[in-house]
């Protein structure tokens, strides 16, 4: 399909350097081949565009050639926004997806819709697009009504024109959008009251339309961030210190003198090599000798949980209380039938693990900066980059180019900052490509999460009390407080910029409980820079909450599914649980299974979440076999019922659920950042293994479409139930609880031996 068509190139900001006059521009935001890019003329200024997200013209332009251009601040990371946004806009406007051109994540061209994170691409960004398209349709119909002297109610927008509603498709009776609006702007605010189409009449939304980038990605025609280049560009490698927080004492520039064309660049503790060709830069980075001070130190890995618990530099905050007792303390075991339980759960630091290490290209002069980046937050980063580059925000442009993905904020922002600082120093465009060691060692990490749970249940399954205590770095309170590596090393001002995401949600049970309290101990620091890995924090919280729910069910001697249903009133929650249980052919009985001592023990587990208590509903069942002698877990089958409200593109939503399950299985079974007292030591795929094909279970997924409900995020929610369903299945199989991620054979074996 032609949905891959690039928008017309938008010229870059004017720059003084004549040797850069042949830069290729704007179409990169969606361009699939370098050949499709256009050459910019000397001195061309960016086409002035409305960027206010309250204005229709910021989102939509009707072009003269029968097409429409959609400008989105949200970007496609592989989750399919390039087609889903077209479906939303095309549906509401009345034009086919193949007639919609698409521009994404460019601070000069697209409105600021916030970061593409938190699974909010469709539910927030998409709804702005829907509103914009509805506003445009209303305006176009009004124009046509005047022109045709027909009441607006008797007109319809379809196939790129406004035509009379009644009668056959009268040839010549319709007016093309372009003929109605011409080259003019709409000059309209988004109208929150513009009528929306009845979902029963949808022809685009709800269809599994193919993603336009897929053919190019399967044939090598897609230009990734890692493939992007500019004329006159140099290649750089950054040399990070051998210990976290180490200062650069001396650099032996002569150590690379045999590498023709390689140069050393040093700004305080920021050290890099540049060369005209990439391999020379790689060799120089490996050859260069430098002397560093000792680092600032890391805690002892094996005592990390205890270190967090013992931290006295904390601020306590009660996040939530419900029920009769504000304290939420478990009541005294009275009446005597009450059973109390307490347990600690730990989720380690994890890496984003993109298959391609981070990369960026920047072109920075004294007066302006253009940065091509795979960051999910072009607009948010603009302020940060302007600050540390000392440029006015208007002089900084960030352009999204899709890179190797992970559905989290990995090293892309840091690589972009590397490139920007180096380009300014070199006076030429600079491409920075991280190595595998850089990515595993220096991408900001999912922070460690320690949770203590206690509670009480009566024999009927009624939860009498529930208390969650969490230890989290205070930099995860939702502010962009985490520093970027390069500006910090280079001693620049105000280097904060990364936002690790809200990771404290879903720490309370979604079930009826007499008393609930969630308390967080905010720690001053994290051992390593924290970052939002897919579904930030919620997989750990749900792991604790849904494991502990299982522990209470087992204490009460109740079937885990039955236990959950007894405490749940939300009808959509009940339905996903029933549907997932049906997929599992779930037979009611308490855990563990009748035969937990088998050499190869089989079990089934269950978990449920209402994501953020306001978004998607997920219920997940898992079947496992546990090899008692080795502690090895074989996940045989995952069944998932998923309700994300109105489904825009069922194949895209399904792909997101599949990926959420497999990526999080990998995290739960295998992933833990290893470090010594100075630095990260898990620097490759051997020391930081991820899921491989032989580990992949059968997936059975049911999507529940609710066309009249608002669409909510589908990209994260199914991550959250994975570890709990898995741990509960292992308990069912063996009677041994898994409370520390990852569930490595060694760790599982230790719990089996302890039973």
């Amino acid at each position: 399909m032609s949905a891959g068509s690039a928008p017309l190139a938008a010229p870059l900001a004017a720059r003084a350097f004549t040797r850069r006059t042949m830069l290729k521009a704007g179409a990169l935001t969606v361009g699939f081949t370098l050949a499709s890019l256009q050459t910019r003329a000397e001195g061309a200024a960016p086409a002035p565009r409305m960027l206010d997200p309250n204005e229709l013209d910021s989102f939509l332009a009707v072009d003269g050639d029968g097409t429409v251009t959609l400008f989105c601040g949200k970007v496609d990371l592989g989750q399919g926004l390039r087609i889903a946004m077209r479906q939303i806009a095309g549906e509401e406007l009345g034009i086919g997806v193949d007639k919609i051109k698409y521009v994404e994540g460019d601070t000069a061209l697209t409105p600021d819709q916030g970061r593409t994170s938190g699974s909010n691409g469709i539910q927030r960004g998409g709804m702005q697009v829907r509103r914009a398209a509805a506003t445009a349709r209303e305006a176009l119909i009004a124009l046509a009504a005047q022109r045709l002297n027909i009441a607006p109610d008797d007109l319809v927008a379809a196939e790129g024109e406004v035509r009379p509603k009644n009668g056959p498709n009268n040839a010549g009776a319709g007016i093309r959008f372009a003929d109605l609006i011409g080259a003019r702007s709409f000059n309209l605010k988004l109208n929150p009251k513009a009528p929306l189409k009845n979902p029963a009449t949808y022809t685009l939304v709800g269809k599994p339309l193919p993603r336009p980038d897929v053919p190019a990605k399967c044939t090598g025609a897609f230009t990734y961030m890692q493939d992007f280049s500019l004329p006159d560009m140099v290649h750089a490698r950054v040399i990070r210190p051998p210990a976290i927080g180490a200062k650069l004492i001396a650099v032996d520039e002569a150590s690379i003198k045999d590498l023709s064309g390689a140069k050393v660049l040093r700004i305080k503790d920021f050290l890099a090599v540049v060369a005209d060709d990439e391999w020379t830069a790689v060799r120089a980075s490996r050859t260069l000798r430098a002397q560093w001070s000792a680092g600032s130190g890391l805690p002892e890995q094996d005592k990390l949980a205890a270190t967090l618990r013992a931290d006295r530099d904390i601020t306590d905050e009660v996040l939530l209380t419900r029920g009769q007792s504000a304290a939420g303390n478990p009541p005294e075991p009275n009446p005597s039938a009450t059973m109390t339980r307490s347990a600690s759960y730990f989720w380690p630091m994890q890496s984003h693990g993109s298959i391609g290490p981070s990369c960026a290209v920047a072109d920075v002069t004294d007066n302006s900066a253009t940065v091509w980046t795979a960051s999910q937050g072009t607009h948010g980063n603009r302020k940060t980059f302007a600050r540390f580059l000392g440029l006015p925000e208007e002089a900084v442009r960030l352009i999204y180019v899709e890179g190797a993905g992970c559905y989290g904020m990995n090293g892309h922002e840091d690589a972009a900052a590397d490139a920007a600082i180096l380009s300014r120093a070199v006076g030429r465009p600079v491409r920075v490509q991280w190595s595998r060691e850089d990515e595993h060692g220096w991408d900001p990490k999912g922070p460690p999460q320690l949770l203590d749970l206690s509670g009480a249940v009566d024999p009927s399954g009624r939860i009498l009390a529930w208390r969650t205590e969490m230890w989290l770095p205070q930099t995860t309170r939702g502010l962009p407080d985490v520093p970027l590596l390069a500006p910090a090393a280079a001693g620049l001002d105000d280097v904060r910029g990364l936002q690790p995401g809200l990771i404290s949600q879903n720490a309370d049970p979604p079930y009826a409980a007499d008393n609930v309290q969630v308390l967080v101990h905010w720690l001053k620091d994290a051992p390593l820079r924290p970052a939002p890995i897919r579904s930030p924090g919620k997989p750990a919280n749900c792991f604790a909450v849904e494991s502990f729910t299982d522990e209470l069910a087992a204490a009460a001697g109740l079937d885990p599914v039955e236990f959950r249903l007894r405490g749940l009133e939300d009808k959509r929650g009940v339905e996903v649980i029933r549907r997932a249980a049906a997929l599992m052919n779930w037979q009611s009985r308490p855990s563990p299974s009748p035969n937990p001592n088998a050499a190869l023990a089989h079990g089934r587990g269950f978990a449920y979440v209402h994501y953020k208590h306001s978004e998607s509903y997920v219920a997940m069942g898992m079947e496992v076999a546990v090899e008692r002698a080795s502690g090895r877990i074989k996940v045989e089958r995952v069944a998932c019922a998923f309700d994300c409200g109105q489904i825009i593109n069922p194949d895209g939503a399904r792909a997101q659920v599949e990926g959420s399950i497999l990526q999080t299985l990998s995290r739960a079974l295998m992933e833990e950042v290893r470090f010594d007292r100075a630095r990260v030591t898990s620097l490759d795929w051997a020391s930081y293994p991820i899921l491989r094909f032989p580990d992949v279970p059968k997936l059975d997924i049911v999507l529940i479409d609710r066309p009249t409900e608002p669409p909510v995020g589908a990209g994260e929610a199914a991550c959250t139930t994975v570890a709990a369903a898995l741990a509960n299945a292992v308990f069912d199989a063996t009677g041994a609880r898994q409370r520390t991620v990852p569930f490595t054979p060694e760790r599982v074996k230790a719990t089996l031996d302890g039973v």
Binding site: L34, L77, G78, Q79, P210, R211, D213, V214, P215, A216, K217, C218, T219, G220, A221, F222, T223, Y224, Q226, D227, D258, L259, S260, G261, D277, E278, W279, T280, V282, H352, G353, S354, I355, G356, P357, E402, A404, G405, C406, Y407, Q433, S435, R436, D651, A655, E658, G659, S660, I661, L662, Q663, S666, D684, W685, A686, I690, L691, R692, F693, V696
Partner: protein, 158 residues
């Protein structure tokens, strides 16, 4: 001096090409990408992830570990040489039909490895596919679609 360059002749996607380099140990990956053949990806440089897979004299090979000196005189096929959007290889067509890639960064290596498998074993079982692709990593979790696509490309299912 290291600035002295040598020429390395290879047949790449059916065309005789020359790669100039001052270092005979330069990985073939950089030589290919330097020619504009960017479908072949840098993933780890350690032969662990499979993103840089190519066919070298028909055999699936990690181009991040293969030196240009060693590749001299051999035949290289990259994803671009396998097929195009207009005329895709059966494995590419199946990947498109099954909508396999998400970010797609691993896709090139997956398709190359799968094409090599099918050349050797036209009707693989699912387990054959899992084994053949065990050293190709994917972070987006597209594995079940990859397996389905390779089965489909071999005329089984799909």
């Amino acid at each position: 001096m290291a600035s002295d360059t040598a020429s390395y002749r290879l047949r790449i996607n059916g065309v005789e090409q020359t790669i100039e380099s001052s270092d005979p140990d330069q990985p073939l990956l950089y030589g290919l990408r330097g020619l504009g053949l960017t479908a072949t990806k840098f993933g780890c440089g350690l032969g662990q992830c499979g993103a840089c897979s190519i066919l070298l004299d028909g055999r699936p090979t990690r181009s991040c570990l293969e030196t240009i000196a060693n590749a001299q005189g051999k035949s290289v096929v990259t994803l671009e040489g396998l097929g195009s959007v207009a005329a895709p290889h059966p494995v590419q067509a199946a990947f498109i039909k099954e909508q396999v890639p998400q970010c797609g960064y691993c896709t090139s290596g997956m398709i190359i490895s799968a094409a090599a498998l099918l050349a050797e074993k036209p009707k693989p079982t699912e387990d054959d596919i899992r084994t053949a692709l065990a050293a190709n990593l994917c972070r987006c979790g597209t594995h079940v679609r990859v397996i389905r696509a390779v089965m489909s490309a071999s005329g089984q299912g799909g």
